[in-house]
């Protein structure tokens, strides 16, 4: 059997004294796109932060395997080098750090961690230009400080650009559709779909079904009160859109 790209076993996590993840189980085989849907406060974003290794959360139980390797003991930068990428719901603005400088540092840090040589400047420029063109990102935008003064759409496109350049084996997209108008959503979805190559897996976290019209998932999971309560194919998303999450709250309680 092929090793899943992501395997989450009975994951429990808390922030301070409050338990937020209460036994998450999830397996994503290579090349598949899974969606997690759930209402606000159900713990979806917490799951993404716990996967990426944010310090505020404490894992109390369970395992997370990325390509068969337990990543819970790894620092966030080590997880990234191991192939994990989190597209943030709210990308952070970092004044004074030029976007290009940041991109180059990220790419080369990951290459170094994997024992590969640094990318030459011409190769780097070429890669950025190619990836940027698909996402309507021009060089003017890349000259600005990282995410500073970017519109909502620009921030999300910049996230996808990073994903295209860093080539993760697992991309976690946290509410990538939030704050996007329909045109921007299509650009972002096109960028994401271009990175579906039969190998790379994705976990798409969203509140609305709308995004899933554009990034069509192989499996849809319903998230409620810190765990997955139902899984199905893409039709499940449509059912949720029609009926809401109310039915699951009772079930989960």
């Amino acid at each position: 059997m092929t090793i899943p790209v992501l395997e989450i076993r009975n994951l429990h996590a808390r922030i301070e004294e409050r338990e937020i993840l209460k036994g998450v189980n999830l397996v994503i085989p290579p090349g598949q796109v899974h969606a997690i849907m759930g209402r606000n406060g159900s713990g979806k974003s917490t799951l993404s932060y716990v996967l990426a290794g944010k310090e505020d959360y404490e894992v109390t139980e369970g395992e997370v395997l990325l390509n068969g390797e337990n990543i819970l003991e790894m620092e966030p930068d080590e997880r990234a080098a191991a192939g994990l990428f989190l597209a943030f719901q709210y990308p952070i603005e970092i004044p004074g750090v030029a976007t290009m400088t940041f991109l180059k540092a990220a790419i080369n840090a990951q290459r170094k961690a994997r024992g590969e040589g640094e990318l030459s400047t011409p190769d780097f420029m070429r890669a950025v230009k190619e990836a940027g063109a698909q996402l309507n990102i021009d060089s003017e935008m890349l000259k600005r400080p990282l995410n500073v003064g970017f519109s909502g759409g620009e921030k999300k496109r910049a996230e996808i650009l990073q994903m295209a350049l860093l080539k993760p084996s697992l991309a976690v997209l946290d509410e990538t559709d939030s704050g996007l108008d329909i045109d921007a959503l299509q650009v972002v979805a096109r960028g994401v779909n271009a990175l579906r190559d039969g190998e790379r897996s994705m976990l798409v976290i969203t509140h609305y079904q709308r995004l899933l019209n554009h990034i069509v998932p192989d499996v849809v999971h319903v998230f409620s009160d810190g765990r997955i309560v139902e899984s199905g194919d893409k039709e499940l998303a449509l059912k949720l859109e029609a009926q809401g999450y109310a039915g699951y709250d009772g079930q989960a309680a």
């Binding site: 990426a52 290794g53 944010k54 310090e55 620092e75 966030p76 930068d77 997880r79 990234a80 080098a81 990428f85 989190l86 943030f88 990308p91 952070i92 970092i94 004044p95 004074g96 750090v97 400088t101 940041f102 540092a105 990220a106 840090a109 990951q110 961690a113 400080p145 990073q162 860093l166």
Partner: protein, 403 residues
């Protein structure tokens, strides 16, 4: 009242008084006899109590026999040197620059001990007249060499109407416990455009005092950048006077403060006439057990309507023991002005750090990126590429320097 209750004088004060008397500066000596060195009760020295911080004053400096290499090399710069207070022969001056010497005592007298001592002890000043725009960066290498010495040196620069220049001062020398008292006087003619950068790269044992006095005529544009990255005790006092309408100044400064250091930027800007503007922006980065001080005072004269001034002080604390003290003061006598001040202080932002880590950038590198980012708006306006690179090198050197 004071003469009846003379302050108790310490060894530093006794030495200073003797040195002032030895050059015939009776009045300056008398002031110290009566008041002593300023303590925290003197408002402008509130956080930099010289009576406590300055325990000894070394003997007055003698002309230096040897000089070490320049503390900072900027390719293409025109370099001048003042060593132990004495102006050295310079290479051929570039077009537009007249180099000479003048009497010391270049600062306007005011109630400030550092200013008074400078005016009394500085024997000669390097004098520069910039008749027209000067292309190369003008670097004045001010150094104190040899055994521990008390040195007062001076610089006086006139910039003609419409001329532009980039002037860099570097302070360095041997690693003895010097006390340096460095005066710089810059007068900018109408519409002159000047960038003035002063960098303290002295040894840790040094006590470094600099006073920069600026006069801006109509439409003159001044950008300053003070960098403290050397002496254990450092204080730069900025006195800009905007005396012509349309004059503008961006006063910036950077305190890079490591364990055991006490570093202070104090500014007192006078908006003397209507329609002038200033934008002071000072940043401090502290680590270990250290102290950074930023005091900024904006004075708006009674007639100086339409003054536009915004003072900002930002601090970044890299350790729990570091202290950053920030004090803004507004003294406004006009009634139609826009004046403001702000101050922030904190640690590296956790969310920003996590974002960089999540992209695979290791922690130490991510922290360096954030610190550089914090400083960028001070260095970015320096357009000369070689100079900008040299400044970045100082910051990087400090970051690599550990505690």
């Amino acid at each position: 009242m004071r003469p009846n209750f003379p302050v108790r004088l310490g060894p530093a004060e006794e030495t200073l008084i003797a040195q002032l008397k030895s050059v015939g500066a009776e009045q300056a000596a008398e002031r110290i006899s009566v008041a002593g060195l300023p303590t925290r009760r003197v408002e402008s020295y509130h956080y930099t109590d010289l009576k406590t911080l300055l325990r000894t004053i070394p003997p007055l400096g003698q002309p230096a026999n040897e000089a070490s290499a320049p503390a900072l090399r900027v390719p293409g710069a025109f370099q001048l040197m003042i060593a132990n207070g004495v102006v050295q022969n310079a290479a051929t001056a570039p077009a537009g620059v007249i180099v000479g010497t003048a009497h010391g005592g270049v600062l306007t007298n005011r109630d400030d001990v550092i200013v008074n001592v400078s005016n009394a002890l500085a024997k000669e000043a390097l004098s520069l007249t910039l008749e027209s725009s000067v292309d190369p960066v003008i670097q004045i290498d001010r150094r104190i060499e040899g055994e521990a010495a008390h040195v007062a040196d001076a610089l006086k620069i006139f910039v003609a109407d419409g001329a532009s220049a980039v002037i860099l001062e570097t302070f360095s020398g041997s690693d003895a416990a010097h006390v340096g008292n460095h005066a710089s006087y810059l007068a900018l003619g109408k519409n002159a455009v000047v960038t003035h950068i002063t960098i303290d790269l002295s040894a840790r044992a040094v006590s470094h005092f600099a006073t920069n006095e600026y006069h801006l005529a109509d439409g003159a544009q001044l950008r300053t950048l003070v960098i403290h990255a050397g002496a254990g005790l450092a204080r730069t006092h900025l006195f800009p006077t905007l005396s012509g309408p349309g004059a503008h100044t961006d006063l910036t400064g950077l305190n890079l403060v490591s364990d055991g250091q006490h570093v202070d930027i104090t500014m007192e800007t006078l908006h003397a006439v209507p329609n002038t503007s200033s934008k002071p922006l000072f940043k401090s980065i502290t680590r270990g057990r250290s102290k950074a001080v930023v005091q900024g005072k904006l004075v708006v004269a009674r007639d100086a309507q339409k003054t536009d001034a915004k003072l900002m002080s930002q601090g970044l604390m890299l350790s729990d023991e570091a202290e950053i003290l920030s004090k803004p003061e507004l003294e406004i006598y006009a009634d139609d002005v826009v004046c403001g001040h702000g101050s922030t202080c904190g640690k590296l932002d956790e969310d920003s750090l996590f974002y960089l880590l999540s992209r695979g950038i290791p922690k130490a590198e991510a922290e360096t990126m954030l610190v550089r980012g914090f400083i960028a708006e001070l260095l970015d306006p320096v357009e000369d590429e070689a100079l900008n690179e040299a400044l970045q090198g100082i910051v990087d050197g400090w970051l690599l320097g550990g505690k």
